[in-house]
């Protein structure tokens, strides 16, 4: 059982992860951006994006990810996502009614259509993706701090 890297799982898992994690991320982004036309949307896409990072963390150990995305940054991004969603709702509020879809709706079934919905989807996916990842990170850090004792 001799492997080069100490942290993370075996070489097979790492290689497969390297190949698939980008695809998972892109699929998540597709789900978010296409959410107003097909099944999916902010929450489902956000979960998939979060799972891409969780996948990376499981395969390469927590240090591979925590050095790039710290807990503070995750927490800040989550708040930014929530505030973005609120701002989108507030644009509607000042344009007539809370959550009013005031942007141009465009033609149906095209990517750039349905006004504020894609923007809301993006905000939700940021909130959910980072939030879910932060939950996982918090649990991992909690577990790690326990083991050190």
């Amino acid at each position: 059982m001799a492997f080069e890297q100490k942290s993370g799982m075996s070489l097979i898992v790492k290689t497969i992860t390297r190949l698939t994690v980008g695809l998972i991320l892109i699929f998540g982004i597709y789900i978010v951006l296409h959410g107003h036309l097909s099944p999916g949307g902010g929450f489902a896409g956000g979960v998939i994006i979060a799972l891409a990072f969780v996948h990376l963390m499981l395969a390469f150990g927590k240090d591979a990810v925590t050095t790039r995305i710290s807990k503070e940054m995750a927490s800040n991004l989550e708040s930014i996502g929530a505030l973005m969603f609120l701002v989108i709702a507030l644009i509607g509020y000042f344009g007539g009614s809370f959550f009013l879809n005031i942007l141009s709706k465009g033609t149906p079934f095209e990517l750039f259509s349905s006004g504020t919905i894609p923007l809301s989807n993006a905000a939700i996916s940021l909130k959910v993706g980072v939030g879910l990842f932060a939950i996982f990170l918090a649990l991992v850090i909690l577990e790690g701090s326990k083991r050190e004792k």
Partner: protein
Amino acid sequence: MTLYLLCLALFSVGLYGVLRKRNLVKIIIGLGIIEYSMNLFFVLLGYRYHGRAPIDAQAQDILNMVDPLPQALVLTSIVIGLGVTALVISIAIRIYEKYGTFDITKIKRLKG
């Protein structure tokens, strides 16, 4: 009707887990089962036989769709369930840190 009764059975399994199990993690799993049985029930309420997914696509009639509203509501409910589960699990981990056990019969520092 059978499907609804199966939901009820699933709900009972979850309730049994919450009420009878002594391990904190098993209680949380029971809670999850309760949530899923509810969600399943709500989705089934909006189902109609031979209906199709409620997506507005080009060149399709919208007559035989299932009810989309319960699906939207269940999605919300799933998000809420996610929040509760994450919170409860982190509390359970902290409890394990403090008490060194997951057994609820040993966790009774409060007088009740």
